[in-house]
Each structure stands twice: as structure tokens, then as C-alpha cells.
Symmetry: C2
Subunit: 263 residues, 2 copies
Amino acid sequence: MNRQRRDILKMVVAAAGGAAITPMLMKNSYAAKEQEKIPEVPWTYKKVDPIAVAERAYPAYYKGGCSYGAYEGIIGELKAVAGYPYILIPTEMFIFGEGGVAGISSLCGALNAVAAAIFLVTGAVAHKQREEAFGMIRELFNWYEQEALPNYRPKNPRYEIKASVSKSPLCHASVTKWCKAAGFKSFSKERAERCGWLTASTAKYAVEILNKKADSAFIAAHPLSSQVQSCRSCHDKGGALENSRTMMDCGGCHFTGGKTKHL
Amino acid sequence: MNRQRRDILKMVVAAAGGAAITPMLMKNSYAAKEQEKIPEVPWTYKKVDPIAVAERAYPAYYKGGCSYGAYEGIIGELKAVAGYPYILIPTEMFIFGEGGVAGISSLCGALNAVAAAIFLVTGAVAHKQREEAFGMIRELFNWYEQEALPNYRPKNPRYEIKASVSKSPLCHASVTKWCKAAGFKSFSKERAERCGWLTASTAKYAVEILNKKADSAFIAAHPLSSQVQSCRSCHDKGGALENSRTMMDCGGCHFTGGKTKHL
């Protein structure tokens, strides 16, 4: 940079009223981006409207699946309402969770995505904040297993949809329970629509939890069932066997048909 | 802005050699950040060293759990090697996946996180790219179910660890299989170490897949088992029942004890 340019730079910094502009002038925009530091988690949460989130999640489901739909429902709304730093998040990454991750039908994509969103705005590396965020995520998983879902009807649905109780956070178990209750096939348009409603319902409940947390009024409403607590008393931490770990509803997969004997 | 300031701005734009600087001068740095557009997925992948990724993932596991460890292993290495835009990703968000999401023991956190990372660098909204990314993620899940893991030993481990075959992508099933094979409890330090090795192993295999893809040499090496294909022929898309969907190893949970009859 020649002397003339340096002098002009000094003048403009004085005229514009701050030294903060100087580094921006010294770099091109790419270099400026390279040095940008993102905020650490948790990112500052701003309360959003659960209905707006649900109505954003539902069409997003048809664009990028359940996981993207739920994540875009929450983070897309925060981009619109709060702006930076949420605008930095590539929400399309969450298409990965579609159909229980890449269609593998393991964990429900809507649950997976909203768990990530909850952690982003409430969690941290530190144990206390991590556990607080985990408490909200666990409430969400228990709600998903125990309630008749979907429980949110989009304003302009493609079909009317029955509700069912999944007793599991897993995609294939949740789908099969609904197929049996509603009488539709697993690859029907009605089942797809059901997952769209479920995406909206899950994103909506997540922000209801987050809004309560923001008001210091969050209390878990869906504790682990007595059956799960009974299983955990032997198999989980401190139990006589201590050969597993879980907070999933054991009865959703094990003891099918109402049997209580061990497999 | 008064006339003197406008004139100086014109001069500095000319002196610095481009009109692109003008908008940056007009705003403070916060406003500039607000307008920043992130690239759409897929983000440009740069081949990284699988061993470096594994060695980054292992200590990260002890900081933030399996999901954060695996994600930080890959994305942290890309931050170091490729810089922008990877530096914009708050990798701590992936702590959410710890212990099968918030300790719930559903989907293995290492698998969950690397699936997200694979999609970020190879996937897109468009069907063709989405399916290509899903193909890599499915290879990873099948590998996880079928191989004796962990198969990567960190350079400075805390304990020596036995391998076991999980036959499931689920945290609690994978943990229980290992506890039985190794003779340790599910909340032992050895089991924690095993999950650290598994985090490193999973992140390593994911970038081996990505590096092959970058060389146009990726071929799935772990197809669905004949048992899963048999189950899917009735229960999945186009089957006589079509009442479920899955690419998980059915035998990992159903038909336990070698039984082939239906539950």
C-alpha cells in the first residue's frame, strides 16, 4: 500500500468515526471471513411463536424431509427473528436425518434435529448447562413416545391424519405403529403426510419447551415410565447387572405382545 | 453522512481498488455479519488424513462425548486444513448426540455425527446428490453393524480395548454387546474408553469413504445382509405387507437367540 492510500485510509477512519473499520479495509472480504469467530454455544435464544415454527416446518418437510423440516422450522424462524448468528447455520445439513438417518429408519429425524437445535440454544461443554439441555431433550423424547401424535394439524394439510402412540423414538417402530392404527401402507402418501404433521408437531413442542425455559418455567411433564425405571434398576448404572444403558421405552421393542418375561 | 465523508469514501474506494469495499464502509461490523451469506451444501471437501481425524476425535470424545468427538474429528480437521466456511460451524452443537442423544441411548452418537458431516460435504437438496450422500451414510451404518469394532487404537490410549460386533446402530444395543464380549460394566471406565476408540474408528472410516468419493473411487463394501433383505421383501416398500421401513439389521433386536420365527 503506497503512502497516498495510507493517508486516505487514516482520513476515512477519522471521518467514519471509529478505528474498527481499519482491519476491514486492510483485507479483502474472503480474508475477513476467515478470521471471523463464531459465538460459543449456547447461542442467545429469542422466543419464537410455536405456530409459526410449525407452519415453517411442515412445507420444509416436503422439501428436505423430517429432520430438515424440524430443524429449519426452528432455526429458520430464529434466522428470521434473531438474524445473526443463526444465519450462519447451513440448515440443509440436517437433510442427513431424513427417515431415521438417510432412510435407514433408526432415530426419528424430527426428534434428532430438534435435539440439536435445543442444544445449540441452551447447551454448553460445561456439565451443568449440558445436563440442563439434556433434560429438555429427554422431556421431548418421552413426550414423543407417550403422546398420541401428530398433535398439530397444519393450516393447509394435504390429507387428514389419525394420531398414534409410538412407544419408541425410532423411525421404523413409529411408522409401523401408525400404519397399524391408521390402516395405510408405510410408503403411502398418507404416511408421508403423517410424518409432515409429526415434523411440525415435534418442532412446535420443542419451542414450547424452549419458551418455558426462557421464562424460567420449564418443568418436565413426561417422566420415564415405571416399566423403564424397573428395567433400569437392574440393567443401568448401579444395577446388579449394569450391562446396558437407556432411557428409551424398553417395552416399545422388548416384551412385545404384552409379555413381561425377558427375551 | 456529510459531504466531506462521502468524498473521502469515494477516494478510498478508488485508492483501495474496488467498489466492493463501499458496502463494508457503510455498515458497522455487526451489520456486515448480518448480511453474510453462507455457501449452500455441499461445502467443498478437501481430503484429510484419516489418522489425524481419529487422533482429533479421541480426545474430543473425553471433552464432549461420542457425537461431538466424531464431528469435531472431521469438521475440526477441515477447519484446520480448509478454513472457511468450516470455521463457521459451532461443532459444540453436536454434544447433543452424546450417548445416543442426551444419554437416551438411541442412535450411536458417533454414527449420528459423521452422517451429518458426510451430508454437509457431499449432499444437497437435489435428489441425485442427496441419494449419493445417503449411499455413503448407509455404507457407514452397515460397516458399524457388521464389523468388529472399535478397529482404531489411539496412539496414547488409557486402556486396551476388545472389539465386538454390534449388529445394531443403537447405543444401548452396541454397549450391551460389548459389555458381554469384554466382561466390563456399562458405566465402567473401560466402556467409556471403548466408546472413545469407537468414536475415533467411526470418524476415521467416514473420511476414508469421503476421500474415496473425492477420488471418484467410492464403492459400498458392506451391503445389507440377506436376512434384512428377506425381511424387507415383505415389510418394506412394495412388499405384501408394506407396514414398516428399515435398513437397520433386523436380527440385532428381533429374533434374538437365533430364532427365526416372527415375534
